[in-house]
Amino acid sequence: MTTEVRVRVCPQGPVLVRGAQRVLDEDGVEHLVTRPVVAVCACDRSARKPWCDGTHKSVRSDRT
């Protein structure tokens, strides 16, 4: 059985991923998905990569 994986980009925020079982980080390391929806860091500033920890809020949007 295949599960549909849905991805949604949040403006100035993380990428929401539904239906995934694993997420690969930039080094190819697998991270197990343990909740129905996960927020994957898109600002590269999270202390918990690949997961979002809200740090993007301290990154001012006018710098980008």
Partner: protein
């Protein structure tokens, strides 16, 4: 296990207690002409009446929930509480409506730009073990019923907004695993810190503002007319959690309260997800279906920031001696 009926701490909570115990009284209830937001007596009375719609009390007949006298007491208190919240947040809501933008963006911006002392930064770096324990105790009245009020919103929503709230609640209620029910994680945090994990254990001890922070959710979620405010409050609440939770977890670790870390650790990643879904999907879908609801969504969101500010100011004053608003003082108005 049933909760004990709280001790009264003034004429209003006394009247509620007597009414729930079936002791008739004909004396008219005269409420003081002062803020109910920061009045422990009024907030305890309201908490007690609301609790009849959640888990009830030992020795109180469940039918008291709809006793006309109890309902009249509740409506009188709610009328004043809601009026004070509207007065305190009117300028902020108006300013945010003027700036405008996508409702999800506005709610996230309101949470990010909230005023008040940086309580979580203090908890992370400076708070003593006793102050962190005090913080856990003050928050217990709302966290031990985490997400319970918002469950009342589900049947009142439709379509994408309903789906978004149900998705969040599934996670809040343990995602299929009783051990990860967020209320249970908080009870575990209390127990591991030497506190009583029982529901309602500290209702006689916490401040008026701590009670008000729990009561505002019941006000919005038990009254269908305040649905949009309940949605906005919840979204702003979720959006005020991820970053503070990370700091609080670090503070708890610093003072050796390791057993309490898990609850806050869980909320770093969980609420980074929840804030996006709550602001963009829940608030977004609600307002897409009813554009006029945006005012009430922002009113609810402003109430989250307002009560957080009052609570932060109160706890910092208690811990550091900095003067700020306390019980029995004029409730400050949030600047725009």
């Amino acid at each position: 296990m049933s909760v004990e009926l709280p001790e009264s701490c003034g004429p209003v909570s006394h009247r509620v207690r007597e009414t729930l115990l079936g002791r008739a009284t004909s004396n008219p209830l005269v409420m003081k002409d002062q803020s109910v937001t920061c009045d422990r007596d009024a907030q305890l009375a309201l908490w007690t009446v609301y609790e009849l719609s959640y888990r009830g009390f030992a020795g109180v007949h469940a039918g008291r929930e709809w006793d006309p006298e109890v309902v009249a007491l509740r409506l009188g208190l709610e009328d004043r509480f809601e009026g004070e919240l509207r007065d305190a947040t009117r300028a902020r809501v108006s300013a945010e409506l003027d700036v405008g933008g996508d409702v999800g963006d506005v709610v996230l911006r309101m949470a990010r730009d909230a005023e008040g002392p940086n309580l979580s930064a203090f908890l992370r770096r400076e708070a003593t073990r006793a102050q962190l324990v005090d913080f856990l105790r003050e928050r217990s009245v709302q966290q031990l019923k985490e997400s319970d009020p918002q469950a009342f919103l589900v049947p009142r929503l439709t379509g994408a907004a309903k789906v978004a709230l149900a998705e969040l609640q599934y996670d809040e209620f343990g995602a299929g695993r009783p051990a990860t029910l967020h209320q249970q994680l908080y009870a575990d945090a209390l127990a591991s810190s030497g506190l009583d994990p029982a529901y309602g254990a500290y209702v006689n001890d916490v401040s008026a503002v701590s009670l008000a922070s729990a009561n505002v959710m019941s006000l919005f979620c038990l009254n269908r007319r305040l649905l949009a405010a309940g949605v906005g409050h919840f979204a702003a609440f979720e959006a005020s959690s991820s970053v503070p939770s990370r700091r609080i977890a670090a503070g708890l670790e610093r003072v050796g309260l390791d057993g309490a870390v898990r609850y806050f650790d869980e909320h770093v990643e969980a609420d980074a997800v929840h804030e996006q879904i709550a602001a963009r999907d829940l608030c977004g879908a609600l307002v897409a279906g009813d554009p006029k609801a945006v005012n009430e969504v922002l009113f609810g969101a402003a109430c989250t920031s307002y009560l957080d500010c009052l609570s932060g100011t109160e706890l910092m004053a208690r811990w550091t001696g900095d003067t700020g608003p306390r019980d029995h003082q004029q409730t400050p108005v949030m600047a725009s």
